[in-house]
Amino acid sequence: MTRHRGRGIASVNYPIGMNLGGDPSQALVHSNPSGKFTVALSSIDLGQGMKSVTRQICAETLGVPVEDVYVDTADSDTGPHCMGSFASRGTHRVGNAVMAAAREARGVMMEAAAEELEVNAADLETDGRGNIHVKGAPHRSISTKDVAIAAQFKQGKTISGRGIFLVPLSDVNPETGEMSPATCYAHACLVAEVEVDDETGEVAMIRMDSAYELGRALNPRLVEQQLVGGAWMGVSHALYETPEPYYPDPKHGPRDFVEYLMPGPGDICPHDIAVLERPAPDGPFGAKGPGEMCANPVLPAIANAVFNAVGVRIDDLPITPEKVLRAIKAQGGARPQARR
């Protein structure tokens, strides 16, 4: 029995938002009388952090601290229309809608502040800590709370904003496939190192190194959780999972988590990630979406690493010990390739 190490790579890109566009999202932003803002969305937070990134986008755009913004989601009576949380569209589409709504609300807020300070609104700026002051004269200042009170009870203004983001729909040419599928693309490259046991056919993950280009990491910690979790979903797809183990024969389908194979805590390995940021011209602060793509490079990188380790190509997923062992036997033993 020998365990062979191998490394494989894959590089990918990924389109952001629904293919061909035509997938609008809306947002409403308003202030209460104490200068605390609510973002109303019908969008769904799947646990990926939609509430948190849209909150940061809203705070940055308004020029207020993030604590002064609360994002309310998932209600069809109070939240305006959103196509849904899929196609890596949350950050890009919903983020843009929130940005537009926050920009409109900021406009009213600055007008109200200008009226209180008796200056031109164009001469004002926010300090991001809850104050609005005259550019170059920080002492001529008013808190966002006092602006909200004045707008509500004295000036009769609503500090609120509406936002929508829509990439216009593209047609598809039936003959050539000519189309405008997406407005921006994220990128990635991943190196997987595996160890293959030539007696059992088992593949163990040793480590992963990766680089992801995401336009802008709006919240690096949320990006990290996506990339780490997504890579494990990729490992699971590559080596373990399927509801039809003998596809296309539909028999022997697993019915629960005892029969449905997935990696356990003992199967994980270190994953070292670099994030690059090349802002998308139409992304909120340049952001694209890390949601879906993070699993994609892992599958082929592992398949390529298995080849590097023992010289067999497994082109049918998942890469089970049975398939690896049969392939090794068929070629008369492991044939380790040049170490990388």
């Binding site: 990924y14 769904i44 940021e277 802002p279 879906e292």
Partner: protein
């Protein structure tokens, strides 16, 4: 461990921001770590009934007779719902964007097309009583030949899975049984290539395996409305689908989503809401319909399996000159969203590389299995697996380092993509370079110096002559840059280079509009 490489593309960003770029703690963290975040299933309502569906035992069968008499008398049963009780018992999810024909009933009527297809729904006082009644429903099946393999399904004489699509393929543009991509002359280029490699790849189906299974709770509200608590990933998508199937105005419903216990694409199909609401309508009581684990794993829609054939032509110096793709998406018995994934896949060809001749034919095929649906990387994950395994083989074939091989072929700013739009904002080369650095993979100096922002466009911006094209194409659109010059204008300030496509013509429904909102038209008028 995550490292931010702020040094790369620094000249394209303003990093002087206050809240953006900070690892701020998530807004819902406290709720999550204290177990107080609300899920749809936390809305246990007074007098709530429970729904279970009886599922087909056969992959393909005619339904001769469904006898529910004994089940009706079973203890605790409040209502048994059959296909005839569903106001519009035929739907396709993407009818909301006018794409595809209604092809799937909420409850099977004459025929079942996959093992596990819902036949009747039972509403009872408890889940146990619903299960007990289910065992008393008598279904007389006439089994039919079934087809499970995508290529078998296309052969003459194959069993017809879904009569709406009698050739077992989705129909594109009302004419083709697949979506085409044509860019240059792949056959001619393959004939002149130094090496040609043709390979077959097979993706496995995948279960989303969410911790929280699909489900919803619907309850009569005041003023004739219904409140619906749901696990959906797409609130209005589910709301509008329910309004269409139940044939009521969309504002009949107040949909409330919750924290979602894992989605990954498996909670877009609106599997439970329409029947759950119908149960509430027919009984006047709150109804809960949640999939069990086995139902979720076998009959909740999975990621479909794709079969992909790639044929590439490569030159000895490592340049790929042609890529020919034939792919089959296994949609299962109904369309759901697979038709859309095919188009997304075609747009993704030939991967993030500049290849002057690309030919693609991608099919959405019907088989007698659980309908497939969206999953993380929809339409792309499988193609990436095939392309990236193929890239490794090609590099091996020409004796090149696989990273350098990718950098050599990577798309760059200004290149023409196979779907005939200019590549912009590229960063594949930089990702490969950084991944090499991180993994201590040695690249030669010339490859370390290459850039997505250099040496693209020019001859690479051309749309090559493509056989069968009726109208002559200029070598590049008028707005095309022919060289990359970063000093021209920062991308953020650039006016849009492409004129926006003409506004879509409004859909012309042949029948009066129902409750569902028409968002837009994708491929012309949807036929009814």
């Amino acid at each position: 461990m995550l490292e931010l490489r702020k040094d790369i593309f620094a000249d394209e960003r303003d990093d002087n921001l206050k809240e953006i770029g900070k690892g701020t703690q998530r807004q819902d963290m406290l709720g999550h770590v204290t177990g107080t975040s609300t899920y749809f299933d936390d809305h246990k309502l007074q007098g709530m009934l429970h729904m279970k569906v009886l599922r087909s035992q056969h992959a393909h069968a005619r339904l001769r007779r469904i006898d529910t008499a004994e089940a009706e008398r079973s203890q605790g049963v409040r209502r048994i719902i059959r296909g005839a009780d569903v106001p519009r018992n035929l739907n396709t999810l993407l009818s909301l964007i006018n794409f595809g024909k209604d092809d799937e009933p909420s409850l099977a009527v004459d025929k079942v097309r996959y093992k596990g297809e819902p036949i009747v729904a039972i509403v009872a006082d408890s889940p146990r009583e619903a299960h007990e009644a289910m065992a008393k429903v008598r279904v007389d099946y006439e089994p039919l030949p079934a087809v499970f393999d995508v290529e078998d399904a296309l052969k003459p004489g194959a069993p017809v899975v879904n009569e709406v699509y009698p050739k077992n393929t989705f129909i594109y543009h009302d004419v083709y049984d697949h979506q085409k991509l044509r860019f240059g002359d792949a056959d001619r280029a393959l004939a002149g290539a130094d090496h040609v490699l043709e390979q077959r790849y097979q993706m496995s189906p995948i279960e989303h395996a969410p911790t929280e299974t699909n489900g919803s709770i619907a309850a009569p509200d005041t003023n004739g409305r219904y409140v619906v608590y749901t696990s959906t990933q797409a609130l209005f998508f589910s709301l509008d689908t329910s309004a269409k199937i139940l044939d009521v105005p969309s504002n009949t419903f107040h949909f409330v989503g919750g924290t979602v216990g894992g989605g990954f694409g498996g909670k877009v199909d609106t599997l439970t809401e329409p029947l759950c609401i119908l149960g509430a309508m027919l009984t006047g009581r709150p109804v809960r319909y949640v999939l069990g684990r086995e139902e979720e794993m076998q009959f909740g829609s999975p990621r479909g399996a794709e079969r992909i054939y790639l044929k590439d032509g490569v030159m000895r110096d490592g340049r790929i000159i042609a890529r020919k793709v034939r792919a089959y998406f296994d949609s299962g018995a109904y369309t759901r969203l697979s038709s859309y994934a095919v188009v997304k896949c075609v747009a993704h060809l030939p991967g993030p590389y500049t290849i002057p001749n690309v030919h693609g034919d991608v099919y959405c095929v019907f088989t007698n299995r659980t309908p497939a649906t969206a999953m993380r990387g929809f339409g792309v994950t499988a193609m990436d697996f095939a392309i990236e395994c193929q890239m490794d083989k090609l590099a091996h074939l020409v004796g090149m380092d696989p990273m350098e091989f990718r950098i050599l072929n990577a798309y760059r700013d200004g290149d023409m993509k196979a779907h005939r739009r200019e590549a912009k904002n590229c960063a594949l080369i930089e990702c490969v370079q950084v991944a090499a650095e991180k993994s201590k993979w040695t690249l030669r100096e010339e490859f370390r110096r290459m850039s997505s922002r250099k040496d693209g466009g020019g001859g690479r911006a051309a749309i090559p002559a493509t056989p069968g094209e009726t109208r002559p194409r200029p070598t590049a659109p008028a707005q095309q840059r022919t060289a990359y010059d970063r000093s021209l204008a920062a991308p953020l300030n650039e006016p849009p280079r492409e004129p926006p496509p003409p506004p879509p013509s409004p859909p012309q429904p042949a029948a009066p509009s129902h409750g569902a909102t028409r968002f837009s038209s994708v491929f012309g008028t949807r036929r009814r």
